[in-house]
Homo-oligomer: 332 residues x 2
DNA sequence: GGCACAATGCTCAGTTTGAGCATAAGTGAG
DNA sequence: CTCACTTATGCTCAAACTGAGCATTGTGCC
């Protein structure tokens, strides 16, 4: 190492305060057309435990953050991680539970996609449908009923400001994120929606009562999670919904061979919208994302479907292979 | 705070090791049709100093990481930050200068866009054209000459493996990132290209000689930077190139009013490619990204151009306003 | 065989793109 | 004052892409 570097590193270190740093992982699978995240039970015995995401320490033995995460998750959950990407680094005060100490606490969050859905390794771990935590994000069966109540509360929150300027701004945000006031629903704005609900006081975690939730809320504002883990989950979903449009990451969730309709169901599960079947197939075919095998499905009702597999070569051919998601008006 | 939460937090902290955490900022401006990043001089007197990005400690006084960054940058550089987004968190071993200690060192990197280009505040700070550090990324004047030499070296590196399987994989990566072997150039893969060059040993920083570089290299593999700052810069450029396609972030770099051609030049500067002028205007008009003012340019040669301003309302209207960049074959 | 059901094939009008031609409105030289 | 030159802006046109829906093909079941 050169002298210049040593000096630089010293200066760098001198400037930094030590902080507590942890990892959080959103481990995603999709089976039976449902998007699932791996959750664990966290919290003590008092006031009940609550769902959380797998989280742990930064393991210094590993050469890179990502490799450390892989090793840690694979050991803990016996899941083989396919695709891994860094999501976001959450700071202490962004999170709740600000204890006022001078020590910052960071969480480096990762998104991981796994192909198979094993019984979830850890005793306390479980695969949960992610819309359990964010029910308003699932538009596959049409606009969720719960959105009516949510919107009413959000509008009340927007009205509840004295300052007309701030009120205007709040209404704009509602339009932008929830499609109120003439805006359109954009399935990628998962995090923005969550944060708006948080600000509007509709998220129990905001009041520091993470373990608690009246049953009524569960279907409207969803199941709470420990700490800021729902925010992390929202970040993951938003990122994934964006990514499938220009990268073939969905295939990380599929078995080796699958039918085009299963693929469509998975994409729909992630994006929370329905797609036009024929056009979806056309898109997949045009992009050359899959190649046929000689297998077909059997047993189910209806005409058997051809089994296909991911065509790895697209990675080398197309600049941005993925699915542009145009939601279908009609159910199918 | 509930008991459950306290327990959770305690568990969380117990799991975490203290680490040294710092911030790094890529502060971007665009003036005269050139993309610029704010750089500082780092390093001691021996072996010369080298360019680096503004970096500093995590400041615990601030409620969120982003706000802390804003305050810190604005105090240091007297730049008013417009758009700010978190880029990536770089771990110690990803970086160079692994000192083997058990203490992890993280850098949380941010991307910031600033509108005006002041004389750069700090004495040691300077605005530098970012292609100075990554010259192969600038295709505005056609394919950079230096790419010839780079490709030759990369191919040699790929050939240089005994294992034919690994060699195949390396060639695939070359095709994917540099458009060799029949691939196409994708302007977003800035980081992947940098990392490939790094692995291939074409980046002086890799050998821990950051301050050193033969003059010949400067035009071929670019000016080195301290530590892993070039990697951070590459991450920023890649992110920005992606973002302008679906978010109107370019306007954060523009003065209050500007001409369509200035806008085009800025987009071209960021993306490193040329665009078809008439189609660019059509796109901007269709998307309703700007509105006319009644000003026009004067003094310059040629027909005066109408001055326009950013139409903030698009943020509320369009789902993903931005520029889809279709490079023009011909210069204009 | 006939029916229900899902898979797959195909059409068609309306947009969006890529590329280029044509015209307008200034400046500076002669 | 006019011409040459330069940049801005308007407009066209074929090709490709989209959104939507109709039609046909295989299977299991009665």
């Amino acid at each position: 190492m050169t002298t210049a570097q040593e000096t630089e590193r010293a200066a760098d270190s001198a400037l930094s305060n030590p902080s507590a740093v942890g990892l959080v992982a959103v481990i995603v699978a999709a089976t039976d057309g449902e998007p699932r995240a791996l959750t664990v039970q966290v919290g003590g015995q008092a006031r009940g435990r609550s769902d959380g995401l797998p989280a742990g320490p930064l393991v210094p033995e590993h050469p890179t953050l990502e490799r450390g995460l892989r090793a840690w998750v694979e050991r803990q959950t016996h899941q083989r991680l396919g695709y891994v990407e860094q999501l976001y680094t959450f700071g202490d005060r962004d999170r709740q539970g600000d204890d006022g100490g001078g020590l910052h606490s960071l969480s480096v969050a990762y998104l991981a996609l796994v192909r198979e859905l094993r019984p979830a390794g850890l005793a306390e771990a479980a695969w949960r449908n992610w819309y359990h935590y964010l029910p308003w994000e699932d538009w596959r069966a049409g606009r969720p009923d719960s959105l009516g109540e949510i919107e009413a509360k959000l509008l009340a929150w927007a009205e509840g400001t004295g300052d007309p300027k701030q009120r205007r701004r709040r209404e704009d945000r509602l339009g932008l994120t929830f499609g109120l006031c003439g805006g359109a629903w954009n399935e990628e704005r998962v995090l923005e929606r969550y944060e708006l609900l948080f600000e509007a006081g509709l998220i129990p975690e905001a009041q520091g009562q993470s373990g608690e939730a009246r049953d009524a809320d569960l279907t409207v504002t969803g199941q709470p999670m420990a700490l800021d883990h729902r925010r992390v989950l929202a970040t993951a979903i938003g990122r994934l919904r964006g990514k499938i449009k220009y990268r073939p990451v969905v295939f990380e969730l599929m078995p080796p061979t699958f039918t085009l309709f299963q693929l469509q169901r998975t994409v729909e599960a992630l994006s929370g919208t329905n797609l036009h079947k024929q056009n979806f197939r056309r898109l997949v075919a045009q992009q050359g994302l899959v190649e046929e095998t000689d297998g077909v499905t059997s047993g189910a009702t209806g005409r058997p479907a051809r089994l296909v597999r991911f065509r790895r070569e697209v990675l080398l051919e197309r600049p941005a292979p993925g699915f542009r998601l145009r939601p279908a008006r009609r159910p199918t």
